[in-house]
Structures are given as structure tokens and as C-alpha cells.
Assembly symmetry: D2
Homo-oligomer: 138 residues x 4
């Protein structure tokens, strides 16, 4: 499967910047999360709220991130994500964070999310309908 990449532009804020004058390391994961929320609603047509209304939620279980170049004050981050793989009860999301001004890659990595039932808190098999929604091809 070759799932489609989607992209979200995020303006870096002063509170994202740390003592080293670049975006604080952990904030890169917040950029990915923000992009993912945006893309769930805008690109897949199923916002996080829609999952919650069906009694489902996504829990982040694993994250890998590699930092290649820094983002600094005044930058716009281009955050690209796609479904890398779908498992019976979860999904691997791949991401890339680029600096808009140069198009250069600043960080990339992936995250795994497990679908849970909000009521039981337990992992559940992803319903076919959601699997279909997440299956937009390149």
C-alpha cells in the first residue's frame, strides 16, 4: 500500500523556542500532533471528535524522531504525514517536518497509535469503515 501524504503549515510561535534559540525538541511532536488533527478533519474527513462520538480514541504507543536541521523563530513548519501501515488494532503514521522557506527537511520519523474503546480503555480492531477512510492512496 502506498498511502497519500498530506501537508499542514504551522507558524512557529515564540513559546516554541528554547534557550538554544530553536524550536524545543519536544515541540516537534506537538507540531506533528497539530498536523495530524488538521489532516484528520480536512483531508480524511473524519475529525478526532468524530472518532470520539463513535466511542473510539487513538493512543500513541511509540514515537521515533530524527532531528536533521533546526527550525527557528519566524519559520513556518510544513508538516507532512501519511499512514505508513495499518495493523488490525493500530496504525503507523510517518511524518516529515520541513522549513517552508527552504523546503529543507528538519526532522522526520514515525508514530504508532492504537485504537481504543473509550469505554473499556482496551485496544479494539479498527472497523472497516475507518480502515476505508484511512486508505486514501497516492
Amino acid at each position: 500500500m502506498n498511502y497519500r501524504w498530506f501537508s499542514t503549515d504551522i507558524v512557529i510561535r515564540p513559546d516554541d523556542i528554547d534557550v538554544n534559540a530553536h524550536v524545543h525538541n519536544s515541540r516537534y511532536l506537538d507540531l506533528v500532533l497539530a498536523a495530524r488533527y488538521d489532516q484528520m478533519a480536512r483531508c480524511y474527513g473524519m475529525a478526532m471528535e468524530a472518532f470520539l462520538r463513535l466511542g473510539f480514541s487513538w493512543v500513541n504507543t511509540k514515537t521515533y524522531i530524527e532531528h536533521k536541521r533546526e527550525l527557528v523563530m519566524g519559520d513556518v513548519a510544513v508538516v507532512r504525514t501519511r499512514v505508513g501501515e495499518m495493523y488490525p488494532k493500530g496504525v503507523r503514521v510517518e511524518f516529515e517536518i520541513l522549513r517552508q522557506a527552504t523546503g529543507k527537511l528538519c526532522a522526520d520519523g514515525w508514530q504508532e497509535y492504537t485504537m481504543i474503546s473509550v469505554q473499556s480503555g482496551r485496544a479494539v480492531v479498527i472497523p472497516d469503515e475507518i480502515r476505508r477512510i484511512y486508505s486514501i492512496q497516492q
Copy 2:
């Protein structure tokens, strides 16, 4: 009324520090909130969870803060708070943030909180029992 001051020590973390190499301005309010949660449980004997179990919550409506000296990496903040005044449906909390190493005042100010019913979201008159718990004198 002269309500009692309580004190909480908070170790400054690297993610609190901004590009100016001192604690980021908005984080001072997070220090006050952390101190208040600690003191509600430890000093007044009524943790935030206890309020929620009774169907009440506190909503911050107003904040005033004055910055006098900076807190930096490696500092321990001493966060003192007290009830400044009690209103029928709310409370004014006064705070002081000091650097433990010098005892010098870094910031002070006050916050007003309204007690709400979690169910209705509306302001409610503070029950006498809670008023009593918050009335520890100097």
C-alpha cells in the same frame, strides 16, 4: 481576615526556559497553578479531585502578575499563595514567587477564581463547608 500563606518548592525544568535564558513569562502562572494544586491537597486538605467529586470546579477569571527578577535554569522556585479575599461565588488568591537560593522576590500578583457547578457550568455560591476549609488564619 488574614488568611495563612502556604509554600511549595518547585524545581525549574529546562523546558521552562525560553530564548532569553530565563523562565518563560507564561510559565510563572503554571508555577502558581502547580503550587495551588499542591496546597489545596496538602495544606487545606481538599484536593482539586475532592471539589470535582462534589460537582464543583474553579475557573480562573482574572490574573495580575508583576515580574521583578528572573528565575533561571538550576533555580528552585518557592511559590507562596494565600486566600486574599473570599466572595460569595469566588475567591482571590494572592501569590509570591521567590528564588530559593536568595530568598528574593521574583514575581507576585493575584488571581481570581469563580466556583462553578460542573453540571451547569454556572457560578455557584461557595458552600459554607468549603468556605470554612479555606478560612485557615495566619
Copy 3:
């Protein structure tokens, strides 16, 4: 003097949301700071970097904020700021934060900033040229 208001739209991110399902209180100050940085560069034509290059910086000394309505996930904040007053060595900035979808006021307040010499760390008289740049009228 009746200085001009400027406006910046900021998309709320998931990491801005706290356990109460609305924007965390201290993050409202980060929205104001982000708007101010944007407007310094875009509206006054003098970015923070330009101040620093001249050996000046701004230090936030006082903040007052009043919360009227909550911002939630999915909201775009409209952050309006203007110079309220200019002092010999500082400036009072007034701000309003509105929810874009409704145009309703969510928070307002003001901040005072002192201009300092980066080298000495001391307050300095605001140069006429900068005073002029900040004097855009309504």
C-alpha cells in the same frame, strides 16, 4: 493618542488544550506574545530581531488578563493588540483575544514592557525613531 489596533490569526493546537478541554490559561499569554512578534514585523516594520540588532530588547514587567469565554480545540484565535500608552522607558500593550468563528471576545487585558539595553540589562529611554515607528494612529 489613539494608536492603531492590529490583528493576527492563530490556529489553536492540541498541545494548547488542558484537562478542562479548553486552551490552558497560561497559553493565552503565549498567543498574545505570538501576535505581538508577528505584528512587530508585519505591521510596525520592526521585527524583534531588528531591536536586538540595535542592542535593545523588551522585558515584560506587568500583565493583566481577564478570561471571558473559553477557546477550544478547532478554534482560530484572533489576537488584536495595540500600543495603549508610551512611557519614557516603556510601553503598555493592550490586547483582545476573540474566537474567529463567532467574533466573540474570549479574553482581554494589557501588558507593560520596559525597553532595556541588552549590554547593560538596564532600562533605557526609548529612542525617538522607535517611538515614531510605534506611533501609527488609528
Copy 4:
């Protein structure tokens, strides 16, 4: 090599908690960073400031984290880290985050850091003296 584990207790603050009522995912990395700063100074006897004074700094290049259990409001996090491996120009730090009340593992993973010269921004070979300081055995 079997390098020694060190441990730092960190009280979870209200601003660490997100809409899911547990510690926000990216904040786990801030806990690791806070523990590392503490342990550099207290356990290895070489604080971050000491590195900077010698003209060196550490840049985080890779992070892997696995979330196993959530940390919640009121928790104290026990953050254990150790040097996993030393490379010519960098180091791999392993970490574990436990809930103090239960001793249960909440998250673990590793980070890679490259030593750079502050002046050039380039990776440098770790001096023998620093290699020795980081070589405390189990």
C-alpha cells in the same frame, strides 16, 4: 560496558496534563531532559553549564520512546537514565520513566546526542576527560 543508572524524582504539574487527563505525550521528553540536567550536575559532577564553559554543547539527534502506562495528576515521576553507549562524537542515553507510587514502568526509550563545538556548530570528538566522567560503572 555497563554504565550506571541514575534517578530523579519529578512532581507532575497541572500544565503537564492534557485533554486526556494524563501527562501530554511530548512532555515525557521534557521529563527526560529535566532528569538528565539534574543528573549531569548531581551524579556526573559536570553540569550543562560546565560543558558550555568549555565551548561544548549536546545536540539531540534521535529519540525513541515507548508509552506503556500513563502518568496522571498527582503523580511523581521517577526518571532513570544512563549512558547506553559512547560513540566517538556522541552518546546514547537510555531512559525509563516510572510512577513512584507503584514502581510501574510508564515509558522507556533512548536518545542520541552529538557533542558539538559551540563556536563552529560542528560535531567534535568527545575529549577523554569527558569520556572518563561519563564512564561511571554499575
